[in-house]
């Protein structure tokens, strides 16, 4: 696996931001999960934002992956939000009966960070 195909875990004002572009492969997701857990352990962030602005197609598998990432982070005590779900993607998810239960969803990265900001204060 080349470095190019690694999803970066970025720290922004005490929160972690993972921006997912297009649909990553299994190995990339597996690597991301490891990276994410490591970063959570070392940085102890206030929150985690999974940004899916770049995802135009979300199948059930990918949805499950995103949900699992969020659930893992939440189990480690990091509140998690998903931001940037496109309208058509959201519509399709609902039509397919897939839900992201227990995970906060935000319109944009700004809003997601704002959510964590107000949660701490």
């Amino acid at each position: 696996m080349s470095e190019l195909h690694r999803v970066p875990v970025v720290s922004v004002s005490g929160c972690l931001v993972v921006s997912i572009q297009v649909a990553p492969s299994d190995s990339v997701i597996a690597q991301l999960r490891i990276d994410l857990c490591d970063t959570i352990l070392t940085k102890q962030p206030r929150g985690l934002v999974l940004d899916v602005h770049g995802v135009e197609l979300l199948d059930s598998f990918m949805t499950r992956n995103i949900h699992d990432l969020a659930a893992t982070a939440q189990l480690m005590g990091v509140p998690t939000a998903i931001c940037g779900l496109r309208p058509d993607v959201a519509f399709t998810l609902v039509e397919m009966g897939l839900t992201l239960t227990g995970i906060h969803t935000a319109l944009s990265l700004d809003r997601a960070l704002e959510h964590f900001g107000s949660a701490v204060r």
Binding site: C83, L85, R86, A90, L93, A106, L107, S108, S118
Partner: protein
């Protein structure tokens, strides 16, 4: 029978055939005309129905910006799957375009509801929440409320309020509580 007699018989028969043929052609022309008139009438009616349908569509789902980042969708009349899909699509696009934080789906104009319609509304609310705005439902009529309870539809996860006014007040309260009103 003589030849002459036979010939005159044949001539008479031929004449008769001619008359019949002419009559049948006339008949078919009349029929054709009536048919085309009917067809034209039907086409006109179809056109009118289509135009009315478009007009209803335009009228039926306005999306209003009630307050800074608060959208309202007043629903009136019967909601079928086609209309609900269109409504949801437009609502989601609007939420993203106007960066809305709250969406109020007002059901004051809905007198009757069945399982399918209720399902459409639940889906609409879920989709709005996935996009990242919080969704409230207001103005559920007593009859509708009773039907929903009898049908056993789970509206438990939805925020429901008495009327549009309460919903808007709630939204404004939440906005000011979050302290996120950088006008």
């Amino acid at each position: 029978m003589t030849d002459a007699a036979l010939q005159s018989e044949v001539a008479a028969l031929r004449q008769l055939l001619d008359v019949y043929e002419r009559a049948s052609i006339e008949q078919s022309e009349v029929l054709e005309k009536a048919n085309s008139e009917l067809r034209q009438g039907q086409e006109e009616r179809q056109e009118l129905i289509e135009r009315l349908r478009l007009a209803i569509e335009d009228l039926s789902t306005p999306i209003l910006e009630l307050w800074e980042s608060v959208l309202a969708l007043p629903v009136i009349g019967v909601v079928d799957s086609k209309r609900s899909a269109e409504m949801t699509e437009r609502l989601l696009a609007e939420v993203v375009a106007r960066q809305a934080r709250f969406v109020i789906v007002d059901l004051t104009g809905v007198e009757l509801i069945d399982t399918k319609t209720a399902d459409h509304f639940v889906k609409m609310v879920r989709a709005v929440e996935l996009v990242g705005a919080s969704c409230m439902v207001s103005g559920i009529r007593p009859a509708v409320a009773q039907t929903l309870v009898e049908l056993g539809i789970d509206f438990a996860n939805l925020k429901t309020l008495g009327n549009l006014r309460h919903a808007l007040a709630q939204a404004i309260r939440s906005l000011s509580e979050a302290g996120s009103a950088p006008h």
